[in-house]
Subunit: 428 residues, 2 copies
């Protein structure tokens, strides 16, 4: 990186020059961001697209009213929305058309894919009764697996692994039915290699479900190319779909006909208004969808996805790596004395979209940074997450963040009580 402008010490001017050269820099204008803050929480809740305002007004002023006035005729529109949104996400995760569905929450989608995977395995490998996940996975994922097992009256067993190499040992027993993994770890930011892991899992006749929450929109995942089985992910982080926006679900085409949704209701039934005794699922993708979806929250997802359509994930990943490279180098140059320890891998092939640092006073530092308008994310134990969403984070933001961290540490601001720290928001 340093070689790019042949400088020895990184400075503000250098960062401004990087922004000037940035092919994605105009996309920041697509978002509403207070100019008094630097928002590094995009892997928790994405920024708000400008177009969201007009879209909600349009929804309110036209669609709801139109739906009333054309009661009989427009049912199709809203049942097609999960598929239409899914098709817009497909290109971001290496999936084909009509393989992705937007509906429900990530947690419910994990439940559904787990039920589908277990149903396939119960036929093919009834002796395999282990469901494997990482001990430090997102607790949501673990809870969903636990409740799935409880619902099956302990017929299956959860095995939590501490390190990736334990996976191979477990697989070798021939007892593993399904493996649930996150592509990018929510805490450490470590990136896993789908191709290698999928091959290993399939060698032992197990199936894999990938949680893409921390990767979709910041890393070009290749689901089909790597021959994954199932994937789930959320739309409110890097995809900027809005608070609590519905999640997505992907199923490998080879499992599509055997896919079974344990929470089926209205919309995945071929004849939803018929009174029938037995469930006949849709023959296609629609069978993924459990029930009515919250339409305005669904519609808002389009705003973020339309911005992705103006660029490509290779450019986004390239900028993501340059932003995190710059932050790592600047932290070494400016904050080496302050006891921060990078826990995200340095190697590009193992690095996700955010950087996590360990510090004994991480929580207090987060609050002091927030008071200075730098929004980061605290995680147990003693971890600060910095997410650099390439669509709206500039190189100068990286420079300014490191300068703010330096000031917080030099002034020992993290010792000030939280309620004394305030910051004003300014959108002008």
């Amino acid at each position: 990186m340093l070689m790019e402008f042949n400088v020895k010490i990184l400075n503000q001017k250098y960062c401004v020059a990087l922004d000037d050269k940035d092919e994605l820099q105009h996309l920041k204008n697509e978002f509403v961001l207070p100019n008094s803050i630097i928002y590094l929480g995009g892997n928790t809740l994405g920024a708000r697209p400008h177009s969201s305002s007009a879209l909600t007004q349009q929804f309110i002023a036209h669609e709801w009213d139109e739906k009333l006035a054309h009661h009989l005729s427009n049912e199709d529109y809203h049942t097609e929305l999960p598929r239409d949104l899914g098709n817009k996400i497909a290109g971001l995760i290496g999936a084909n058309n009509d393989e992705v569905m937007v509906a429900d929450s990530t947690a419910l989608n994990l439940f559904k894919t787990l039920a589908a995977a277990i149903k396939i395995q119960a036929k093919k490998h009834p002796e395999a009764r282990l469901i494997v996940a990482e001990r430090d996975a997102l607790p949501t994922d673990i809870h969903i697996i636990q409740s799935f097992i409880e619902l099956h009256q302990q017929l299956y067993q959860l095995e939590l692994i501490e390190h990736e190499n334990e996976l191979e040992q477990l697989l070798a027993t021939g007892q593993v039915a399904v493996v649930v993994l996150s592509q990018i770890h929510h805490c450490t930011g470590r990136l896993k290699d789908l191709m290698t892991i999928n091959r290993l899992i399939h060698q032992h006749f197990a199936l894999v479900i990938w949680d893409l929450c921390q990767s979709v929109g910041v890393f070009p995942t290749q689901l089909n190319q790597s021959q994954a089985d199932f994937a789930v992910g959320c739309t409110y982080k890097y995809l900027n779909g809005g608070p609590g926006a519905p999640a997505f679900l992907w199923v490998n085409e080879k499992h599509l006909t055997t896919f079974w949704d344990p929470l089926n209701a209205w919309n995945n039934h071929n004849n939803p208004l018929d009174i029938i005794d037995f469930y006949e699922p849709f023959t296609g993708l629609k069978r993924y969808m459990s029930a009515h979806q919250p339409i305005i929250s669904m519609r808002l997802i389009e705003c973020g996805l339309n911005i992705f359509a103006k660029t490509n994930l290779e450019a986004i990943r390239l900028k993501s790596l340059k932003l995190t490279d710059l932050f790592i180098e600047l932290m070494e140059q400016e904050c080496a004395d302050f006891n921060f320890k990078l826990i995200t891998p340095q190697e590009h092939q193992h690095r996700g979209g955010h950087l996590s640092y360990n510090h004994p006073f991480a929580y207090e530092i987060c609050q002091a940074l927030c008071a200075r308008g730098v929004i980061t994310d605290y995680r147990e134990a003693d971890i600060i997450r910095f997410a650099f969403a390439p669509l709206y984070i500039r190189y100068i933001d990286v420079w300014n963040t490191v300068q703010q961290i330096k000031s917080v540490m030099q002034n020992v601001e993290w010792q000030i009580k939280p309620y004394l720290l305030t910051h004003n928001i300014n959108y002008d």
Copy 2:
């Protein structure tokens, strides 16, 4: 009804006089309704409250952005929303504070309450393995029960009853674990008596789950007084929460501590950010909530509920009965020659909020009425549903609807091909 103004023939003037006397008439102004249509589909999708426009703008312009800027501090706000909305619904269904939660869809809430009820019964009455529902229940409900049973590998069995008296016979076998019933039938509009049915079910040690989709907001349900066990219902019909708005769930206080959500994830965990091995559910109401909720769709529900706070359900039920009385009488007076057959009970104690008529050309008549700006709802087989939402339907609307039906029948308009029928929408 006829006696009220001592008239022999019901006429337009009489209906206008009823509107003038109507204590709820001002509430129609709370809704956006095109003045060129009469909207009788409020039991499918409620009308749009005026306040929805300002609320979405406020959400878009402030809450999303604020949430970014105060990343660390306002998590509580959104996790309290399901409970706050639930407390606003509690008074409409005879529930107490902190017994109702708004989250997920009706289908998922049925799944959750069914899992909870079965878990209670598996301990108390393990021999009871039947789940009873009505054969002509909403197909959603039946599909959810079927998939619940499939997930339990046929440990339980679904019994579909044709008539209410079959329920007692089944209960007498001592094999019934759970009964799922709708308070007001989606098709016939028949109203069930909770008190009598709950007593019968409990005499045989079974539990009951009530589907309130067709009753909430139009009938003063008494869940606690009638000692029901569980209830679910939607917010987008008479409550006017917006397309696909999240649903609600009620649990009798006595089951609250044993309630178990099989789809638990983030938010019903006491320490959602901790990494733990085993699920420890919230000790209170929060354990009902499966996962992140779509916030803007949640917030919109408030608009409709705030209108209910300006009146009471006794006044709403009174107007509902007067509207349906008037429609029945006018249909007899004006349309007796046209072969319509009322299938909703005439007796007030058995009549819900909508009226259903059978007609051999029901589907075609629905379309012809739609072309004349009268929005009704067609259901298989040969049924037209007319929903009279007391908050925004006037007596003059009832008069005009019957006149339009009369014209459609006299002009044989239902024989015209659907694509030749159009109507213009006019909000002026």
